[in-house]
Assembly symmetry: C2
Homo-oligomer: 678 residues x 2
């Protein structure tokens, strides 16, 4: 395979190093190499048995790795960025994951200075180890339905944490199963018989010395999962456990210990900011997640040869790399285009987010209270119109991006034929670990209701004649002004028109949905499917727009040579036209494109783009700069030695090959020379 990949790389003159630096910055790439060297030098990070081990062994190894990583971090004085890089390289969830990712963050963001001293300082030093316990066996999405209670006890100034039913058991809580001795517990605050909704409480759950569960705490691991098995997701039941007043995180909400009076003085728009930030991060990393699968599949399909070309003369006997088949290209090269589209979109979102944060900090953000409860755990807030737009957009994009990445990984796996099914492909387990991203931080289906709600609101304001204040109201206003005369976009000839066609379709669907809801008074529930489509349309518009903006941005044109920019432009068009073609019925129905245009896109424009991008496929995935160590994939090896590596792992590393069985049904011996475990 190595000559084949070398030949692929010769066919294209794209400057891989330059493109990598553009995607990641030179500094980060170099830092990553340094960190990689350190990790490789520690035996505990050796990956060679990862695919073979069962859950117990994998968890034990993951724990050892987590500990070592902490020690290495302290030794080398790694900052957060460094830790992020290291975690990416190790590429498996670990038992300290939620301590780092949620416990520390929640204490920091929602704790008072006193609480920082009491909890955060110890947590930072790993003297206490925590998790974030919100979801319960019976409730996830609907946070207001949580059943765990925290009842204020005026006499001794404590809260009593209690799980009234089995379904109140905390469930899915990362790092809780075996590792944490503390938890931030979301519980219904009750004062004098009155409920104030879910609030965060710091609760100790295990003894700091023996690590055994405290009295009246039932805690443990929830068992094996489709993936994520190196993490100890846990359950947690309380039988009237008392905690002191100071254990209620009080930066935003507060119970006066003397009067029992509840107050909520500070606006939680910061929290919504955090959610937006997390979601924007999911969008950004979705590009990279997908890129890993695409790297593996593209390299392997350039090495894998199967059949001679059907139209080739009979004398031509050598086989074709399967990447030459258009049916493979339409699967992989469109996903390759998606990786860049998601990357630019994530970047765009982060930029907007930071700009908005800055503005808010300057203004001292105000916030209105929504009276009506939303479909998901969070609400859209009017706040600044930019924030509202950003929030809604981040919901829609989180949904679109994580679904695209998750489903794309499986497309990559399947494109590898039989070998894609081997663990050594490196796709399967990675896919399985990524999958929950479609469910957490807002289930991808449910989030679309929030997007729709925001778009309906915006459309109403446009109909009222309000001036546009952001991108969304601008495209809605444009549509409204031109709806009567209709559209005529040159989607095949003009990039701007292509973007405009996406805007048009999204606006069309918004007003359609509004008609259903406001004029025809359809029930909310009857419109969920329409809302889902609407959110997707809106989000696809944002993606196409962000990719287009990135192409014309001066950072891009200055950082990349013109060949690479031209190739990026092709990837932009492939992404946009393929999306348009896949969703064509909405483009017809809205008048954003004609049947003839779509047919031309499908039969001519897209096929031509595939052909033009094909020679650069391997170099393009090279630019994503995954190290072999990180991917741990036989099929995706940078040097193309696919078969040698598959064989080596199977024949040499595979523990099953160390035993001999007795194959006959008549004999009770199973593994020869070993006592059976059965």
């Amino acid at each position: 395979g190595s000559e084949l990949l070398a030949a692929e790389r010769k066919k294209s003159s794209i400057d891989v190093g330059q493109l990598s630096e553009f995607l990641f910055t030179e500094e980060k790439l170099q830092r990553r190499n340094e960190i990689l060297d350190i990790l490789k030098s520690e035996k505990v990070f050796d990956k060679s048995q990862n695919y073979f081990a069962g859950r117990m062994d994998r968890f034990e190894t993951a724990l050892a790795r987590a500990k070592k990583l902490q020690n290495v971090r302290v030794e080398n004085k790694w900052n957060e960025d460094d830790m992020y890089i290291a975690t990416e390289l190790i590429s498996e969830p670990g038992p300290y994951g939620l301590h780092e990712g949620m416990f520390l963050v929640t204490l920091r963001d929602q704790g008072t200075p006193e609480q920082h001293k009491l909890f955060l300082d110890k947590a930072v030093k790993y003297e206490i180890i925590g998790c974030y316990a919100q979801t319960e066996l019976g409730h996830g999405s609907n946070v207001r339905g949580l059943e765990t209670t925290a009842t204020w006890n005026a006499e001794d100034k404590t809260f009593v944490i209690h799980s009234p039913h089995l379904t109140a058991s905390k469930w899915w809580i990362g790092s809780l199963g075996k590792t944490a001795n503390y938890a931030v517990v979301m519980a219904q605050l009750i004062i004098k018989g009155k409920g104030y909704g879910p609030h965060p409480f710091v609760v100790q759950v295990r003894d700091l010395k023996t690590h055994e569960p405290l009295e009246n705490v039932h805690v443990g691991d929830i068992g094996p999962k489709f993936g994520y098995n190196t993490m100890d997701n846990g359950f947690l039941l309380f039988n009237k456990v008392k905690i002191p007043h100071v254990n209620m995180l009080a930066k935003f909400s507060h119970v006066d210990p003397n009067t029992g009076k509840y107050s909520r003085p500070i606006s939680p728009s910061l929290i919504y900011g955090t959610l937006t930030w997390i979601r924007s991060n999911i969008v950004l990393s979705a590009g990279q997640v997908l890129a890993r699968g695409v790297t593996i599949a593209v390299r392997y399909c350039a090495v894998r040869r199967q059949f001679a070309d059907r139209d080739a003369p009979d004398s031509e006997t050598s086989e074709t790399p399967v990447l030459n088949y258009t049916m493979v290209q339409i699967r992989l090269l469109t996903l390759l285009a998606s990786t860049f589209a998601l990357h630019f979109t994530g970047n765009g979102m982060m930029k907007l987010y930071r700009a908005n944060q800055k503005m808010m900090n300057e203004k001292g953000a105000g916030r209105e209270k929504d009276s009506k409860r939303g479909a998901g755990p969070e609400e859209t807030h009017a706040g600044s119109d930019l924030l509202a737009d950003l929030h809604a957009t981040s919901c829609g994009l989180k949904s679109l991006a994580s679904s695209t990445a998750a489903e794309g990984l499986e497309v990559c796996r399947r494109a590898c034929g039989g070998h894609g099914y081997s663990s050594f492909s490196g796709v399967g387990s990675y896919y399985a670990d990524y999958l929950p991203t479609t469910t957490w931080e807002g289930d991808n289906y449910m989030l679309t209701q929030q997007v729709a709600r925001y778009l309906l609101k915006s459309a109403r304001s446009v109909l009222k004649g309000d001036k546009p204040t952001n991108d969304t109201t601008t495209i809605l206003t444009n549509f409204k002004n031109r709806a009567e005369m209709g559209a005529a976009f040159d989607i095949l000839g003009s990039d701007e028109d292509l973007v405009a066609a996406f805007a048009w379709r999204a606006a069309f669907l918004t007003f359609e949905a509004l008609k259903h809801r406001d004029e025809q008074k359809k029930a909310w529930n009857d419109l969920l499917v329409d809302f889902y489509r609407l959110s997707k349309a809106h989000s696809q518009f944002i993606v196409v727009k962000n990719f287009h903006d990135a192409l014309t941005d001066s950072t891009t044109t200055q950082s990349l040579n013109s060949d690479t920019v031209a190739l990026m432009h092709k990837l932009f068009r492939l992404n946009a036209l393929h999306t348009l073609e896949t969703e064509s019925s909405e483009f017809y129905a809205s008048g954003a494109a004609t049947v003839r245009q779509i047919q031309l896109a499908r039969t001519t424009a897209i096929m031509k783009l595939l052909e033009e991008i094909r020679p650069h496929a391997v170099r393009l995935v090279d630019a994503w700069a995954f190290s072999d160590w990180q991917m741990d994939s036989s099929l995706g090896r940078e040097d193309g030695n696919v078969y040698e590596d598959m064989f080596y792992r199977a024949s040499e590393l595979n523990p099953l090959n160390k035993i001999t069985i007795d194959p006959y049904p008549g004999s009770e011996v199973l593994f020869k020379g070993q006592r059976s475990k059965l």
Copy 2:
């Protein structure tokens, strides 16, 4: 949860027993219960540790089960149908799988009476255990590209089996990794330096006593996979291994031991018959595979409650089962409709297959030889026009049905939100085990080329003016005759028109593809994407047609009471309209439906059908009659005790909860009180 499911069952008066018997026959259902009782009584079949065990333990257990199953079979004199039922109930691939599924069958079908005596008789008694070794590390789909050679040696009348390169290593061979001592090896037959293509050879690979590999044989397990880990897929390399003349399976092809002359006297259309039979079986079982996921998801979503209805008055506080959300329904109820559609289609195919076999046996089938090699491992043969149609249709349907089932299972898993990700959902591992069905017996993408090739051929014959001889040429002829005047189908009002719209679209795409290939002389490779769509369109037509035929069939109307038939009719319409809506652009483009019709289908007809089917959802999945033991799912339990079961498994069965860890990074202890394996 149990009251909720009981309430669901009360809402509908569908006769579950009657529908089950219609799907499976009363006899089979009863037989299944008997077999289930026997299996349950044997400790080795206990499933409670399945989700926890690692690969070594799972394989060991699977081996023990395979042995026990053989013994139970002999004891109880089970026939093949019984064994099939038992295997379905156990629901995991086992190490004798390929011995039963391919070794015996190949010996039987391709061996001479002498070879039956020599190999088959022993194999039946498990004195030898075999597998089917075709795929190699370097070649799967392209069987003609296999590299293993079998060179005829006239001197001592032997064949020398040899693997010239690493890529010639047999790979993926089920039951070979640890279990088999024999293999049917597909190897390139070479006589006097001339190649005759791949042929089957019986080769011993392990010692019958010690079970160690024979000299010059390198054999072992290929390592862990995304699923299928209870099976020992293996690799196999030969270093010039001699086998006697009699070891070449000689029913179809034969080498004269005295002259070395090669002959191939008998038509292999039987083999193509077998392939068609296997594929029809995949279609039939796809309905059932999907039904298992749908059963789990529908039951769980009827128990799972999250949020109150948004439009409900504020006083209404109780939460809604998520199955009431239309966004859940559009995912699950459409799949529920698919389960029946696939079931009827599989039945229809089998019927056609048997009719055709009978006819062939009566006629003594003739067969023409194709001169041009096809894209896949097999060729379409003119043979009888019915057989050709059946063969092509089975390729397209295998592709459509297994993709629908595989992807549908993941939709079901995700519909269960966070809990879908737990192993206890029962969906994940089942999905992972099913996935290879999309790749084997013809990769789903590649098979579509065969369908297209057949359709192009048929269209050419129609253009020449040949009389229609089967369904396909009939719809093509209809289209050709009416193409000028166009179509006007009442897809919303008439079932016949709905089916006709599917036929019209498929015919339209066929002639489009023909134009591209024959008039515009486009390269085959440039048309693969069109072919894929064409095959899908053709197959969807067959599915819709089969479902429609089943509804009007007298067996159906006589076996089911009128309520159930009416409900089936709704499921038919839901399946057809939802497919039409999903693929709407082709329906517009072909003129089979108008934009307005599709919009009405989407916004009105489909939503109404969802509403009408919703109350019967639980009873409909009940009719699929899965036993809890088979599904091994907390979420899909017949009694709805979802949370109790989740909790029990996590808290009581989970071995990780038997250990205590040391959580601090400063300590090297991992699992307390145990010697670390690291």
